[in-house]
Symmetry: C2
DNA sequence: GGGGCTCTTTGATCTGGGTCAATGTTCTTG
DNA sequence: CAAGAACATTGACCCAGATCAAAGAGCCCC
């Protein structure tokens, strides 16, 4: 009972243009073949909330295509996005059964899901999967803490530049290339979604995008297509310890 | 070769007034007995930097007493604290060898350290330790993301109230009691350290502390001793979904 | 292809928290 | 106990980013 039995035409692990960081990178291993029985695909439209904070979650999943956000909402509606999920990113936490955040499809989205129980059992049997998961969780923790620096100490302009740099890098890695001169990408977020991630208002995001455009740091065609003529220039604007832009 | 051979009078795992969340909670198990050979204690003075970001780290550790901070610093000196370490908290990441943050003793500090290599080997042999570590890392991730909401969306007053609530809870758990009416605690942070954690300046921290005192949310004796006459009132001020204050 | 969406930009104004500067208050240590 | 040093408060002023408001752009979908 592989994915092809469930959803004809959907990409299988092996077919994925992007190898799932969590699972598919080891598709060749015998242990994971067993997981195919518990694997299924789900697709969502842009704007749809896949999971509400507090919901029971009986699966883990990784993103096949599209982008999703993790967000926290205060009682009065103030919203903070706490994570972006790109293709190959993993969501779900073995050993816990309620979701701590809202998960929202930011664009049309395809997820590759595994029933949680069998996944946990596999984890118990195969130490390297548990280890891989720890590895990934540590990566997420580092990303979250880097974002804390951004939220607490960076200016609006630096925030925008940082976000663009991060998206550019993820975008480039999808196609296995480096962020080079004249890099063109498609923004997977509305101005409001950017604002929610950066701890700003959408007006400030818009103004700073305009300013970066005016100063030649980026070029814009329409609202979503962004060209980065010089990635190092962008990194300077982001205030990061520059690391060259290569992935 | 137990700890007592190395540092006479230092608390052993079993003697710790606080059981280390990471390790000591399972001291009874046979696997961990082996770790005693690789265990040693180190103490630091308030203000001392234990670990510099980028340093090679050949040990993992947990806090026995005192408080430490994890912080990130930008090239121009802007600083953001990304985590607080209380007694029983764990630091260090099996599978990685350089520290991603500065670790600074915020008060006088005693750490219980394990050489990393043997610890990793133990982890490979005993799945429940790996699982425990994943558990802890997920807790840290949740804490980091909750802090992202604070940094991105809360007002200065809400930030201060949130920090006080968190410290009160950790403080209470040290002594195995609940945060009740007229809870008294000792702040383990200077105004500047609070500011670095909250994404504020020390002046703003001071002003908001004064305001909370004026409004009867807290009482202050000296700079460090804080009394919380009504913990639910404090939680209201923090803007959190109140959960009663019990641990 | 035009009507009604949603998303985005831009402007005018306001304000929370930053900055700079002076003064107070604890802690240390001799 | 006095003298310093480190830490904290308070005041005056300013500015980055929020808020409120009004036009533009895309973009579906009949």
């Amino acid at each position: 009972m592989t994915v092809h039995d469930r959803l004809p035409g959907a990409p299988s692990c092996g077919d994925c243009p992007i190898r799932h960081r969590a699972v598919c990178a080891r598709c060749e291993s015998d242990e994971l073949a067993a997981l195919d029985a518990f694997k299924y695909y789900r697709s969502f439209e842009a704007g749809q909330t896949l999971i509400w904070s507090g919901d029971r979650m009986d699966f883990v999943a990784s993103v096949v295509s599209g982008v999703a956000t993790l967000s926290q909402v205060m009682e009065d509606g103030r919203t903070q996005t706490v994570g972006l999920l790109f293709p190959s990113d993993f969501v779900g936490r073995p050993g816990r059964d309620t979701a701590p955040y809202n998960v929202v499809a930011s664009s049309d989205l395809l997820m590759c899901c595994f029933r949680k129980r069998p996944f946990e059992e596999l984890m118990g049997r195969t130490p390297h999967i548990a280890q891989r998961l720890l590895e990934m969780t540590l990566d997420e923790l580092d990303a979250a803490r880097e974002w804390m620096l951004l939220l607490g100490r960076k200016t609006a302009r630096e925030k925008i530049a940082s976000l663009l740099a991060i998206i550019a890098r993820r975008d480039a890695s999808l196609f296995l290339r480096t962020v080079s001169d004249r890099f063109v990408m498609e923004l997977p977020l509305t101005r409001e979604a950017m604002a929610d991630y950066l701890g700003l208002t959408l007006e400030t995001v818009s103004r700073q995008m305009t300013a970066l455009k005016r100063d030649g740091v980026i070029q814009l065609e329409g609202n979503r297509r962004v060209t980065i003529p010089d990635f190092n220039r962008l990194l300077d604007e982001a205030g990061d310890d520059s690391d060259g832009g290569v992935i």
